[in-house]
C-alpha cells in the first residue's frame, strides 16, 4: 500500500472521478456498432460451414444472386490472392493467406461455423432467407477437436503446408504442430536430484470463450473514389485498418477505421472477421453494408482460448525450497497456426525462483475456430497446472501454502525460464498483503468447506501509442487518444495528463480518435493501455506545459525558462496565471496550443497477483459455491482505483467461470453443442459473491507514475485457487477444467471408493 506521504504528491492520480463516458453509457446514448445508421445502409449475413472439416468443392451463388432484395454475394473468389503473403500487423508477422482463409474459407472449411460465403440484402431477414439459396458442395473429412488427438501421426491433417518448426529447424513432413517451443535454464536432472519431494501431475482444460456481451459488428462503405471506411467494434482501430487493407490488398491510407464504443473484447476483438467481408460486399453493391453476428456466430466463428493438455513436475527440498520444474504444454490453436502457447510457456513458472527448469510447448492445429487472445492468453491454463502442483508440494512438505509461495516467490533479479530477469516486482508484496488480509486471518468453519490460494502473473507490453491535445480558451483540454477504450482507459489516460499538467480530470475531454485523426496506436491489450498510452499522455502534458510557458513568457516579456510552474499555475516574479487564465490569452500570444506525443516503450513490465477463495461443495450434487473471494494485485500505481478494482473483480469472475462451468462441448462430429449463453455457462450475478480487492502498489520503475497494467493478471489465479479450495473441502484434487458438477461428482465418487 502507498504511504500517505506519497499519495499526497498527487492531486488527480488515486482519486475516483466520474468517467468521461459515464453519462452516455448509462443513458444508452453511447454509439456502439449496432447503433450505426447510415443513409442507404444494407445488411450482410454470412453462410457458415455445417461441418468441422470438409473440402469445399464448389459454391453456387446464382440462385441467391437472383433472389429479390439481394444486392451482392461474395465468396473466396472475391478475395485477392494472398498466397505466400506475410504482413507485419504491429504484433509480429502474420500469414495473410491464413488470415484471409479464416475470413472466407478457401479450399477447405476447418471448423463448424467457418465463414464460406456472404451476401448483402435490403434487410437482415431477406439476407438470412437468401443464405439458404447458396449451394455449397462439401466433401466431408474426418475432424479432430482434442489437442492430444490432433498431435497423433494419424490425426486428420488440417493444412498440408504447415511443418513443425522446432529450435530453428523445419520438419520435412506436414503436421498439425506448427511450432515447438523449448526453454531451459540450469540443469534439470541435477535439479530434480537435489529434490526431496517431487510432484508430477497432468492437467486438461477446455476451450472457453471471451464472452463479451456485444457480438462482433462492422459496417463498411467502399466509396466510389476507392476509399473504404469501416465502423467497427475493435480493440485496435489501427490493427483493424492494417488487417483490412492487407486482406483487400489496398494501401492502408485507403482505409479509415472508426472505432465505435465497444461492449467487451478481452482479446477477442483484435483479429478481423467481418470488416473485409463487409467491405467486399460494399464494393459490389455500392452501399454501406452492416454486419452483425449472432451469439451462435460469435461462439462458433470467433476466437475461443485454447483447450490444453499440460504436464507439470516440480521438486523441492525438505526445507521448502523449490529446486526444479519441468513443464510439457500442448495448447490448441484452432484452425490456423499461431495460438498462445508462447506466453503459456513463458508464464508457467513465472511466479517462482526456480534454479533449474525446462519447458516444452506445442502449438497444435485442430478443427476449432482459430484461437484468439483472452485476458492473459495462455497463462491461466499454465497457472492452473503449476499452482495446483505447488499446493500439493506444500501439503507434502507440511508447509503452509502461503508461506511456501513466499519462500519461493519471484523477485527482483529472478530469471524467468525464457530468459528475462525481473526488475523490481511485487509478488512478495501481494503475498504479504494476502497474509495480512481479513480474509486469510478469518476462520473458515463448517463442513464441506475449504480455502484455496494461488498466485498469477502476466506481462505489460509496451508497443506504440499516440495522444494529441488541443487547449481550449476556457482552460479545458480536448485529448485525442489512439487507444480504444474497453475498460475506462479514456479516463485513466486523461487523469495522468491532468496530473502532469496540474488541471482537474474534469477539465480534460478525452476522445478516442479514428485512424485519420490520431497517430498510430497499437491495440488495447497486453495490459498496456494505461501504462503506455498513459505515458504518451504524460508526455503530451509536458509538451503543452512547455508551450504554455512560452506563451506566458511572451506576455511577461521574459524567457520561457524563467516561467515557473507551481501547482499547475504559471509564475514569474510576482506575476501568476492559472492554466485557465493563460489558456484565455492564447489568441493574442500566437494562436492555438496543440500538443502531441508518441511513445514506444521498450520491453515488457510485470504484474503479479494473489487470490484467496473459500468454497463450499455440496457433498451430494458436487455443486461448488464461492463463499468468499479476495483478489490482491500489484497495480504499480492505481490511477483510478475503482477501475483497478473493477479489472480485478472482472478478471476474477471470468476465472471463476473457467473454473466452474465454462467450456466448449463438442459432439463426435466436431460441432459445438452449446453455442448459446443458456448452455455456455458464464457465472451470473447470483453465482459470485462481492469480490474483495486489495491493491498493492510497488511502482513500476519504467513509468513516471509507476503504473503497471492490471487488466489481465486477475484471470490467471482463480481456477487454481478454486481447485485448491475444492481440495481442501473434499480431499479431491481436480486436474481438469471446468470443475463442473458432473466432473467433480465423478472425481468425488471414485475418490470415495479408493
Amino acid at each position: 500500500m502507498t504511504p500517505k506521504s506519497e499519495r499526497k504528491k498527487y492531486k488527480v492520480i488515486g482519486t475516483r472521478p466520474i468517467r468521461h463516458d459515464g453519462a452516455d453509457k448509462v443513458t444508452g446514448r453511447a454509439v456502439y456498432g449496432a447503433d450505426l445508421r447510415l443513409a442507404g445502409i444494407v445488411h450482410g449475413k454470412i453462410l457458415r460451414s455445417p461441418h468441422a472439416h470438409a473440402k469445399v468443392k464448389s459454391i453456387d451463388t446464382s440462385a441467391a444472386e437472383k433472389h429479390p432484395g439481394v444486392l451482392a454475394v461474395v465468396t473466396r473468389a472475391d478475395m485477392p490472392n494472398l498466397k505466400n503473403k506475410i504482413a507485419d500487423l504491429g504484433e509480429g508477422s502474420v500469414n495473410l493467406a491464413h488470415l484471409g482463409a479464416n475470413v472466407l474459407a478457401h479450399d477447405k472449411v476447418l471448423y463448424k461455423g467457418h465463414a464460406v460465403a456472404a451476401l448483402a440484402a435490403v434487410n437482415p431477414h431477406v439476407a438470412e432467407e437468401a443464405l439458404k439459396l447458396i449451394k455449397v458442395d462439401y466433401e466431408v473429412l474426418p475432424s479432430v477437436t482434442w489437442v492430444m488427438d490432433a498431435m497423433q501421426d494419424d490425426a486428420p491433417l488440417l493444412h498440408n503446408d504447415v511443418f513443425t518448426k522446432s529450435m530453428g529447424k523445419r520438419a520435412s513432413k506436414p503436421s498439425n504442430v506448427p511450432t515447438h517451443i523449448h526453454f531451459e535454464k540450469g540443469n534439470i536432472e541435477e535439479g530434480f536430484q537435489a529434490a526431496d519431494v517431487i510432484v508430477e501431475r497432468e492437467f486438461k482444460t477446455a476451450s472457453v470463450h471471451q464472452g463479451y456481451i456485444e457480438p462482433h459488428v462492422s459496417t463498411a462503405l467502399w466509396n466510389q473514389d476507392g476509399h473504404v471506411t469501416v465502423w467497427t467494434s475493435t480493440q485496435g482501430a489501427f490493427t483493424a485498418r492494417a488487417q483490412t487493407a492487407e486482406l483487400l490488398q489496398i494501401p492502408v491510407s485507403q482505409v479509415t477505421v472508426v472505432p465505435c464504443e465497444i461492449g467487451g473484447g478481452f482479446g477477442g476483438k483484435i483479429a478481423v472477421y467481418l470488416e473485409p467481408v463487409a467491405a467486399l460486399l460494399s464494393r459490389k453493391c455500392g452501399r454501406p453494408v452492416k454486419m452483425v453476428m449472432t451469439r451462435e456466430d460469435v461462439f462458433e466463428g470467433t476466437g475461443p482460448t485454447p483447450g490444453s493438455f499440460m504436464r507439470v513436475k516440480l521438486g523441492a527440498t525438505k526445507d521448502g525450497k523449490l529446486v526444479a520444474g519441468e513443464a510439457w504444454l500442448a495448447y490448441d490453436a484452432g484452425a490456423f497456426p499461431g495460438g498462445v502457447i508462447g506466453p503459456g510457456a513463458m508464464c508457467v513458472f513465472s511466479c517462482y525462483e526456480l534454479p533449474h527448469a525446462k519447458v516444452d510447448g506445442y502449438d497444435v492445429l485442430d478443427n476449432k475456430p482459430k484461437t484468439q487472445a483472452y485476458r492473459a492468453p495462455g497463462a491461466t491454463q499454465a497457472a492452473f497446472a503449476c499452482e495446483t502442483v505447488i499446493d500439493e508440494l506444500a501439503e507434502k512438505l507440511k508447509i503452509d501454502p502461503l508461506e511456501f509461495r513466499l519462500k519461493n516467490a519471484a523477485k527482483e533479479g529472478t530469471r524467468r525460464v525464457d530468459g528475462p530477469v525481473y526488475p523490481r516486482v511485487g509478488l512478495v508484496e501481494t503475498l504479504e498483503a494476502a497474509k495480512n488480509s481479513p480474509h486469510w486471518k478469518s476462520k473458515l468453519e463448517g463442513k464441506h468447506r475449504g480455502r484455496g490460494i494461488a498466485s498469477g502473473y502476466w506481462f505489460n507490453i509496451g508497443l506504440k501509442s499516440s495522444v494529441a491535445a488541443n487547449v481550449n480558451n476556457d482552460g479545458t483540454v480536448s485529448l485525442i487518444e489512439g487507444s480504444t477504450d474497453i475498460g475506462g482507459t479514456r479516463t485513466s489516460i486523461a487523469m495522468q495528463f491532468a496530473e502532469t499538467l496540474g488541471i482537474t480530470a474534469e477539465a480534460v475531454h478525452p476522445r478516442v480518435g479514428d485512424t485519420d485523426s490520431v497517430g498510430y496506436t497499437d491495440v488495447t491489450g497486453g495490459s498496456r493501455t494505461t501504462f503506455a498510452t498513459g505515458l504518451a499522455a504524460h508526455e503530451v502534458a509536458l509538451d503543452i506545459q512547455r508551450q504554455m510557458r512560452e506563451r506566458a513568457a511572451i506576455l511577461w516579456e521574459c524567457e520561457a525558462s524563467q516561467v515557473q510552474v507551481e501547482d499547475g499555475a504559471y509564475c514569474h516574479k510576482d506575476k501568476k496565471l492559472t492554466f485557465a487564465e493563460l489558456a484565455g490569452q492564447l489568441g493574442h500570444t500566437g494562436g492555438p496550443v496543440v500538443g502531441r506525443a508518441t511513445v514506444s516503450p521498450e520491453g515488457a513490465s510485470n504484474g503479479f497477483g494473489t487470490h484467496l477463495v473459500d468454497v463450499e461443495v455440496d457433498p451430494d450434487t458436487a455443486k461448488v459455491t464461492i463463499l468468499r473471494y479476495t483478489a490482491i494485485q500489484d497495480a504499480g500505481r492505481a490511477i483510478h482505483p475503482s477501475y483497478v478494482e473493477g479489472q480485478m473483480q472482472g478478471g476474477a469472475v471470468q476465472g471463476i467461470g473457467w473454473a466452474l462451468n465454462e467450456e466448449y462441448v463438442y459432439s463426435d462430429q466436431g460441432r459445438m453443442e452449446n453455442a448459446s449463453y443458456l448452455d455456455y455457462r458464464m457465472p451470473t450475478a447470483l453465482d459470485v459473491p462481492a469480490i474483495e480487492t486489495i491493491i498493492v502498489e510497488v511502482p513500476n520503475p519504467a513509468h513516471p507514475y509507476g503504473v503497471r497494467g492490471v487488466g489481465e493478471t486477475p484471470i490467471v489465479a482463480p481456477p487454481a485457487a478454486i481447485a485448491n479450495a475444492i481440495y481442501a473441502a473434499t480431499g479431491v484434487r481436480m486436474t481438469e477444467l471446468p470443475m463442473s458438477p458432473p466432473r467433480l461428482w465423478a472425481a468425488m465418487s471414485t475418490g470415495k471408493k479408493s
Binding site: H125, E296, D620, T621, D679, R681, L686, P741, W745
Partner: protein
C-alpha cells in the same frame, strides 16, 4: 425467422378455428418465451401465430374448495403473487418462481411450459405430483387428459390439429398434504434443469405416516416421468429418512437419462435420487405445516 401472419383470438372457438385451418403451420402464442425464441432461432417455423392472451378463459384462475382451476395462459408472477395459491400449492409456486427470471415470469405461463413439452420443463413434475387434469378444446369439442399422459416425446404432446389447452385443474389441497419442486442447475439462475424433481405427499393426522404420495422427475427421460411404482410404494410408510432414501434409490433406478451438454448419464441418475429425496423432505415438512425453502 420467416414471415408469418399474426392473429389475436378473443374466444376459444375463434382460436380453435384459426388453428384448425392452418394445422401444423399454426402456433399458439401465450407468453411467447419459448415460441419467440424458437422462431427467431429457426428451431420452429410458423405461417400463423395466434395470440391467446385475450381469451378470458385462458387468463383467469379460481381457487375454491374444489381446487384450483388455472387458465393455461396465466403468467407465473400472478401465481406466486397470490397468497392463497402460495398456501395451497407451494410446489406450483416453487416451479413458477424459477422459470427464467422475473422478466420471463411476468410473461411465461404454466400452460406454455406444459405445451412446449420439454423433458426438462420446470412445471411439469409439479403438475404430475399434484395430479392435474388438462382441459383441452378442439374442433371436435372439449376433452380432458391427466397431465402424466400429456407429453409424448421431446417437444410433442397429445394435442391434435386445432387443439388448444384451456385450463389446468388441480385437485383440492387435502389436509396434511404438501408439495415441493426442486431442480438442479450448475449455476443459480438462468439455466435448464439437469434434473428436476416434484413431490406431493399426504400424511396421517399425526404427520408420521405417508398415506399417499406422487413423485415425478424431469430431464431424465424423453418426457417428464411419473414415478408410479415408487409413489405407490410410499403409501403406508413412515415419513422418515430411511423411507426417503428408498424412494431416492427407486428414482435413480427408474431414471433413464442421456449424456449431453447438461450432464452425464451416471450423474443424472445419481441426481434423480438426491433430488427426489430432497423434494420429498420438502413436501413432508410442508405437509406438517413447517416452513421449507427449496434450495439445491
Amino acid at each position: 425467422m420467416n414471415d408469418f401472419e399474426f392473429q389475436t383470438a378473443t374466444t376459444v372457438d375463434e382460436a380453435v378455428s384459426l388453428l384448425a385451418a392452418k394445422g401444423d403451420r399454426a402456433r399458439v402464442l401465450t407468453g411467447g418465451t419459448d415460441l419467440i425464441v424458437q422462431l427467431r432461432e429457426n428451431l420452429r417455423e410458423a405461417d400463423l401465430v395466434v395470440d391467446v392472451k385475450k381469451i378470458p378463459e385462458l387468463i383467469q384462475y379460481s381457487l375454491t374448495e374444489k381446487g384450483l382451476r388455472l387458465g393455461a395462459g396465466v403468467p407465473c408472477y400472478r401465481i406466486y403473487g397470490d397468497e392463497a395459491i402460495r398456501k395451497a400449492y407451494p410446489g406450483l409456486v416453487d416451479s413458477a418462481r424459477i422459470i427464467g427470471g422475473w422478466q420471463i415470469q411476468s410473461r411465461a405461463s404454466i400452460g406454455g411450459n406444459l405445451c412446449n413439452s420439454s423433458p426438462a420443463a420446470d412445471s411439469i413434475p409439479t403438475l404430475i405430483a399434484y395430479n392435474v387434469i388438462c382441459h383441452i378444446a378442439g374442433p371436435e369439442g372439449r376433452r380432458t387428459v391427466p397431465v402424466a399422459e400429456f407429453c409424448t416425446a421431446p417437444g410433442r404432446n397429445v394435442l391434435k390439429r386445432g387443439e388448444l389447452l384451456t385450463e389446468l385443474e388441480f385437485p383440492a389441497a387435502a389436509r396434511h398434504s404438501g408439495g415441493a419442486y426442486l431442480r438442479f442447475i450448475p449455476r443459480n439462475e438462468m439455466d435448464i434443469a439437469v434434473v428436476g424433481a416434484g413431490a406431493w405427499v399426504q400424511l396421517d393426522a399425526k404427520g408420521e405416516t405417508i398415506e399417499r404420495a406422487r413423485l415425478a422427475l424431469a430431464a431424465v427421460a424423453p418426457t417428464p416421468l411419473f414415478l408410479a411404482d415408487a409413489s405407490a410404494a410410499l403409501a403406508g410408510k413412515p415419513a422418515t429418512e430411511a423411507t426417503f432414501k428408498e424412494a431416492a434409490a427407486a428414482a435413480s433406478a427408474i431414471a433413464r437419462p442421456i449424456n449431453d451438454k447438461r450432464g452425464t448419464l451416471e450423474y443424472r441418475k445419481h441426481l434423480a435420487g438426491v433430488l427426489i429425496e430432497r423434494s420429498l423432505v420438502g413436501a413432508v415438512r410442508r405437509a406438517r405445516g413447517e416452513k421449507w425453502d427449496p434450495h439445491v
